[in-house]
Amino acid sequence: MVKRSLFGVLTMLATTCTLDPVQSEAIADLGGEAPGIPPGPLHRPGQPCLVCHDGSTARPAMSVGGTVYALLGATAPLSGAGVELTAEDGSTFLARTNVAGNFYVEAAAWQPVYPLRVAVAFGGLTSTMSTIIGRDGSCASCHVDPPSRISAGRVYLAPSAALLPDGGAP
């Protein structure tokens, strides 16, 4: 039992510890897991995925990851949306959001050449990001709530409910 506990602790340390003080602080700033949502594809919506999923801290290593919401300013996630990513070299990757609105691209599957362009599509409606992504694969590094001088706000499909496709209500 002691062995098992020790193994558990070591495993946890191996997956969460980093010697980089900047990254350690960034991880600490994220806070703990939400009650009832264990680590996995549904956890930590709206947080910058690659702070931990950077290939050395938590698995899986991701190249791109984020959370999509249905409406501007709303907190309901958009499930089943396609996230179309296009890299500078023309290569593309299509990811899909889960019930938490989260999507991610495993680094082993696709390593994009920046800058990236991205569009979110759902039910016939496509919303294209007006700017490029320069170098950071975490959507939430820039897209945090509320919108401000230094944040574009959450990633969303439609600016108003009236524009949501039929059946698109979250």
């Binding site: 700017t131 320069g134 230094i150």
Partner: protein
């Protein structure tokens, strides 16, 4: 006993070391004579688009900070990706670039843009100096020409317009 030439050598070393180690003059100033501000708008539009996103130079965490539509905004109430770049943001980006290496900038401008690679701005953009964003221009392409023509005070508006949609 110390030989005369040893004394002389020590004296020479000290004489060389003292000015080399002297603190910079706190009152020294450099008069900026940067490239033309009036023709910077099109350069800024390109830089804002390609370099000024929030995850690159559109952040206060970079020595070179850019403001504009595609990234960090200057005025409270303005949001990235929303309203167009303001003239105050162009001014701020201009000041950030020109004041980054003022003495070298002055020299490049005085030389009508010759050897722009003296500027870290150009070396990083070309990727000849370590740059997290990699090489974002290639020598002679429209993006490079947009920047270097401005440094030569002959902004190539056509190149800058092409740079905005490249790729």
């Amino acid at each position: 006993m110390m030989f005369p030439f040893v004394k002389l050598t020590i004296a020479s070393l000290l004489a060389g070391a003292i000015p080399a180690c002297a603190a910079p003059d706190p009152n020294a100033t450099t008069t900026l004579a940067g490239p033309d501000r009036a023709s910077f708008d099109s350069v800024q539009a390109f830089l804002d688009h390609r370099c000024g996103t929030l995850d690159c130079h559109g952040t206060r965490y970079r020595n070179l900070r850019l403001w504009g539509h595609d990234g960090m905004r200057l005025a409270f109430g303005d949001v990235p990706g929303a309203s167009p770049t303001t003239s105050a943001e162009v001014d701020a980006s201009y000041a950030a670039i020109v004041a980054l290496e003022p003495e070298i900038m002055n020299a490049v401008v005085a030389d009508h843009g010759a050897h722009p690679e003296r500027l870290t701005l150009v070396r990083k953009a070309r990727g000849t100096e370590k740059h997290a964003g990699g090489a974002v221009v290639a020598v002679g392409d429209v993006r490079d020409v947009c920047i270097t023509s401005w440094l030569a005070s002959q902004t190539d508006e056509t190149a800058c317009a092409a740079a905005l949609v490249y790729p």
